[in-house]
């Protein structure tokens, strides 16, 4: 007797499909915000994500926020570096141009620092989402 195939039940997560895109999409998505979505054909989503992360990062720079370099000092400094690193190419360009190295001496500059850290963290969320799209876990 032929085995019955099980139709997928409602609410079940489709099984993962590993491919080269599961590596490429999150990698380029980390490097350029939203690019991981664009390379998979989600143009508008990618564009909105790019605008959001880019704007948040550059607003942070404009508010004279601080960008953390790799360090092994205070735990908050290390976490700040991890957050900033999440911004990918934005962080690399900023470090190369020497941006965000001034002393934080105003309230708005502190906002700027937090803006850039959160921009990096949001970019990491975007990269993970691009990975899930590549895995076909979501549309």
């Amino acid at each position: 007797m032929a085995a019955k195939t099980n139709p997928q039940r409602a609410g079940e997560v489709p099984s993962a499909t590993f491919s080269a895109m599961t590596v490429v999409a999150p990698a380029v998505g980390w490097l350029v915000p939203g690019l991981g979505h664009m390379v998979q054909g989600r143009w508008w989503r990618g564009l909105l994500l790019f605008i959001s992360v880019f704007a948040m990062f550059f607003l942070g720079l404009a508010m004279q926020g601080k960008i953390y370099a790799p360090n092994t000092g205070d735990i908050l400094d290390m976490l700040g570096f991890v957050g900033n690193l999440g911004a990918g190419g934005l962080y690399i360009v900023s470090q190369g141009m020497g941006w965000g190295q001034g002393a934080v001496h105003r309230a708005t500059a502190d906002y700027g620092t937090k803006y850039m850290i959160v921009a990096g963290l949001l970019n990491l969320i975007c990269a993970v989402d691009a990975y899930h799209i590549a895995l076909r876990k979501k549309g």
Partner: protein, 60 residues
């Protein structure tokens, strides 16, 4: 270039950008994305207003 934002303006901008990212990454269809993004925005701004009034109460 330097930008000076008021506290509330900084909050609003933060909420807008974070809500867009949350809406897109946490939902699958466009309609759900918009709804969830608006929901997140309301939570962000509402939370800030609530925290502000809570701090005022603590002070007074």
């Amino acid at each position: 270039m330097t930008i000076e934002l008021s506290h509330f303006t900084a909050t609003l901008l933060f909420a807008i950008f974070a809500s867009i990212v949350f809406g897109i990454t946490q939902r699958s269809t466009s309609r759900e994305m918009v709804r969830y993004g608006l929901y997140c925005f309301c939570l962000f701004v509402g939370g800030v207003l609530l925290a502000g009034w809570a701090m005022w109460l603590l002070k007074h």
